[in-house]
């Protein structure tokens, strides 16, 4: 057993006011002239976000501009926050498609389960984080809005990346 119990050292006798203050000031000045700056001047400067970033949703489309979604109903089933509304429809050839597909971005907790379970790789989380609207209704993204998003998508659960699968 390599887990030992260690009694912490209480350096009470070595406490001081002046020396500690000077040390602290010295540390602060050292940080002042440190060339490594940590402040990001947002929004002029932006930190890059990781390829696996889980942000605003995006619905991918087929080559003829239709949503890839086949309205199978896995994402509303698995969603822990119940934020996806899906009404399936069927065209004359018997292909299922979503009549209504809405994601309430306020209710959404961006866990990414919808993307994880989607068998058509249609719904994706995106690498995007700045959302603002004038009304709450604006945050209920319908199918058109989801398809119109252009930001890159989250690379987790992507068949191309076996590590994230």
């Amino acid at each position: 057993m390599a887990i030992n119990v260690k009694v912490v050292d209480r350096p009470i006798d070595e406490t001081s006011y002046v020396r500690a203050t000077l040390k602290g000031l010295g540390n602060t000045f050292k940080h002042m002239i440190d060339p490594h700056k940590v402040t990001t001047q947002y929004p002029e400067q932006r930190e890059s976000i990781s390829p696996r970033w889980r942000g605003t949703h995006r619905m991918l489309t087929t080559e003829d501009g239709k949503a890839k979604c086949v309205a199978c109903g896995l994402c509303p089933t698995v969603c822990p926050a119940n934020c996806i509304k899906l009404v399936p429809g069927e065209d004359e050839e018997g292909n299922r498609y979503p009549l209504v597909f809405e994601i309430d971005e306020f209710r959404c907790i961006f866990c990414g389960y919808c993307q994880e379970v989607c068998p058509e790789e249609a719904i994706h989380l995106g690498r995007h984080y700045e959302n603002s609207e004038y009304s709450r209704e604006g945050f209920v993204y319908d199918l058109e809005r989801l398809m119109a998003q252009t930001h890159p998508v989250c690379e987790m659960w992507d068949p191309a990346d076996p590590k994230g699968e």
Binding site: V8, A20, K163
Partner: protein, 436 residues
């Protein structure tokens, strides 16, 4: 004239100096925990003597770390009685979980102790895995240790930073949060989220670490001890810090055990109680690290114990990076783990399997389990009762913050109002976990 209550802990409360101004009396550390009550100082306003005042500290006070409400009965500036009120952040996680499959509860566990999201996810997964009776893979074990220790560092850094702010030092907060930012960047690269990670699944992890991620972790492990030294240099021997923390909120080992304290609170009182040591999980017994314990059980000891735990976490992380094996992350158990996406989109059998697993959910056998882990706050446990369906009949969290908070009336009695802030900060509470 109300009678003064006798107080059975040594006070660093006011005496009077020659000019009649309040003066701090330094504590004489006894070690055995037996100390005598000090004589009450002569009142500055005799006509008001014995009148007690009730004040509310919180629920919207910045120094109560959330929506904690403390009703304090004050005699002058000395606390006579303290009644904590909790429940302002009650979200009903446990009830909601009864309507969710096991994997669907994991995003909820992010939100209870939000400084320790990976720790909660993994603790939940460990409990559910014992219920399902699966053994996780070796790579997953080490990855979980890495995530757990990273989240322990996050939590302790936030603790050091916010406690510094509560007590009046601002600079260490910024340095601690800068290091925390680095860990969040690492977590973001791993699972795409910073705070609400949902890093684990029952039987594995959400994802393997991406290429080059370990280099980032090694870089962090090189720079982080330097920041730790800086914070240590700034406050450990600083007379102001020591004066504000020493002798406050003393819990003797007997008290700590009687109140059911765990984590750094118990260890600062000299109780060597650590789940990693006493009930090892994730092969913690094979790592080489120390469990720090304190002597006096005051706020200063809690600070020292947590600082030492940060150093020990770095040691564990270094060993974990060394031993990380190759291999699969998720268990090879089709009852639990979704088929790979490439197969689920191309093969009919995999797709049926995929649909069945998502729609119905994995079903554990009938039974109940309790699995404790050592979260940064103390013993965190998940208790499940299963009736064989895909959703738990009941699941419960043993929140360390809640149990530790129950000792606050004992700790603050007889201390000054301003010391209540320091004592409350030293418990390291997260209200999301207390109210759930």
């Amino acid at each position: 004239m109300a009678t003064k209550r006798t107080i059975d802990v040594a006070l660093s409360t006011t005496g009077l100096d020659r000019e009649g101004r309040p003066q701090r009396v330094p504590l004489v550390a006894d070690g055995s925990g037996q100390v005598t009550a000090m004589a009450a100082p002569p009142s500055l306003e005799p006509e008001l003597e014995g009148e007690h005042m009730l004040i509310n500290l919180g629920p919207q006070h910045p120094a109560t770390h959330g929506v904690l409400r403390l009703v304090l009965e004050l005699d002058g500036e000395t606390v006579v009685r303290c009644i904590p009120h909790v429940g302002y952040l009650h979200c009903g996680f446990e009830k909601i979980g009864e309507y969710r499959q096991y994997n669907q509860i994991i995003p909820w566990t992010d939100r209870e102790d939000y400084l320790n999201s990976p720790g909660n996810n993994i603790a939940f997964a460990l409990g559910a895995e014992r219920l399902f009776g699966v053994e996780i893979t070796e790579r997953c074990t080490v990855l979980r240790v890495i995530a757990l220790e990273l989240s322990r560092i996050i939590s302790h850094l936030v603790w050091v930073g916010t406690t510094c702010i509560d007590i009046g030092a601002f600079t260490p907060f910024l340095w601690a949060f800068q290091e925390r930012e680095n860990i969040y960047n690492l977590l973001e690269g791993w699972v795409g989220a910073r705070l609400t990670t949902s890093i684990s699944r029952v039987g594995g992890m959400a994802a393997d670490i991406p290429d080059g991620w370990l280099d980032g972790l090694r870089g962090f492990l090189k720079t982080f001890p330097k920041t730790l030294v800086e914070v240590d240099k700034m406050i450990t021997r600083n007379g102001i810090w020591v004066g504000r923390t020493i002798g406050l909120g003393i819990m003797t080992p007997q008290d700590a055990i009687n109140y059911g304290l765990s984590g750094a609170m118990a260890r600062a009182s000299g109780v060597a109680w650590d789940m990693r040591k006493d009930f090892p999980y994730l092969d913690y017994e094979t790592y080489d690290f120390d469990v720090p314990i304190g002597v006096n059980g005051d706020v200063y000891d809690r600070f020292l114990v947590r600082m030492e735990e940060l150093r020990q976490s770095v040691r564990i992380l270094e060993q974990a990076v060394e031993r990380l094996p190759d291999g699969p992350v998720n268990v090879n158990d089709p009852r639990l783990i979704l088929p790979p996406k490439s197969k689920a989109t191309s093969e009919m059998e995999s797709m049926i399997h995929h649909f069945k697993l998502v729609m119905e959910g994995p079903r554990p056998p009938v039974g109940e389990v309790y699995v404790p882990v050592e979260s940064p706050k103390g013993e965190k446990g998940y208790y499940f009762v299963s009736d064989g369906t895909a959703k738990p009949v009941r699941w419960r969290i043993r929140p360390p913050s809640f149990v530790n908070l129950s000792a606050i009336p004992k700790m603050v009695e007889g201390h000054l109002l301003s010391d209540v802030i320091a004592i409350n900060a030293s418990i390291d509470i997260v209200m999301g976990e207390i109210d759930r």
